[in-house]
Symmetry: C2
Subunit: 261 residues, 2 copies
Amino acid sequence: MKKPLILVTNDDGITAPGINALVDVAKSLGEVVIVAPNSPQSGMGHAITIHDPIRLHKAKVFKGIEAFECSGTPVDCVKLAKNVILKGRVPDLCVSGINHGSNASINIIYSGTLSAAMEASLEGIPSIGFSLLDYAYNADFNPCKPYLKKIMKYVLEKGMMEGSLLNVNIPKLTAEEIKGIRVCRQAEARWVEEFMENEDPRGQKIYWLTGKFENEDNGEDTDVWALENGYISVVPSMHDLTNYKAIPHLVALSSSSLLKQ
Amino acid sequence: MKKPLILVTNDDGITAPGINALVDVAKSLGEVVIVAPNSPQSGMGHAITIHDPIRLHKAKVFKGIEAFECSGTPVDCVKLAKNVILKGRVPDLCVSGINHGSNASINIIYSGTLSAAMEASLEGIPSIGFSLLDYAYNADFNPCKPYLKKIMKYVLEKGMMEGSLLNVNIPKLTAEEIKGIRVCRQAEARWVEEFMENEDPRGQKIYWLTGKFENEDNGEDTDVWALENGYISVVPSMHDLTNYKAIPHLVALSSSSLLKQ
């Protein structure tokens, strides 16, 4: 059997330990090509680079593995991989991460890691975003590796429902403490922001975004619940943002030309 | 009756003609506060500024209307409006745009205009993103104004289903040609990219993102169909990205600890 082709990317940048851990698992399952940002791109969401040129260079960061670093966003990386680097070869799987920090619940919409996976899913490539609930640079990515392999193998074998990607979050636990995997929905949580006001060296006022994550969704079928209870959470996510349930509430808005009324 | 408070933002920047047109309509319906980026932020998606400070200044661009320009992304603008500028006053409505160019179909995930509206919806603020299918700087925003007013009034009166926002796109037509408003779903379309390869003045290779929009979704209930047939499209959108239909396909992935197997 031909080895599957696995595209690896992330948003913490090509030198982050998290992508190293992901490459370790990916290379045991197939041929790996890496295209990742040349600098941290956390919080970039689904941003793309329109007004500036993008630079792309070969990177010698992973022995024996083809790797490229890109000046753009995580979504740019996936677009460049498909159109410039792989030129028509379609990956069997795209994995993004492992992110240093949670992308559970509403974090998915701010996350470069998950946006890269979503971009791949738009191209029909089965894709998964992985995140560990540990912001530390030297976080321990080893305990989750067997689970990552299980999830990646599952997707390689079964494929993915069209238009879907998986948002996988991993609790900060030892191998003994991880209870297993749960398939979940996205918890209805949000960030409560506070801005830190400060002054730059020239006395000009500046603001730093800060805040805390607040979850008031107690459903035991949510990713936040799974993570708080020792499980790895797997949420199937999608790019069709239509709120179908809201359509009937809006019918009165439909109209003919206002000129004719 | 107290005048409603309307927060106005965009992604083309505070000096773009589109936001001017939106302010024109908004001020006929309530008290307006503007917080918009100080430079174009198209394609920024749901990006937030984490690694840099954000600057915020009063802007004297709209006579008699409180306005602020911000160095951050459209989503940052909404966060700053809520937490720093309005300090506890909650807008009755947030409107974003009018974007110069379409945000129909999959464009919603790349769009700063719609991401700003989504951010407001996360805060429980009824919100609408408006876009005109004309990229020109001097696009004619007048024909759509009566429709914008109708849609904004509707939302001010009826509110919005929780977690929803409206994605409104306007065809490039005269007032006589616009047939009316249709409530739709997001068409299943995508961008087919090509990168323009070029060299910078120092002979280094650079890439520019380019591409064309391809729609293979012929549904007459889609936003693309509505726009091609002379209607203003209104899609209720949401931030819960869970693909509920995919959950049953993944049950086999659920597991207990791999150590115990």
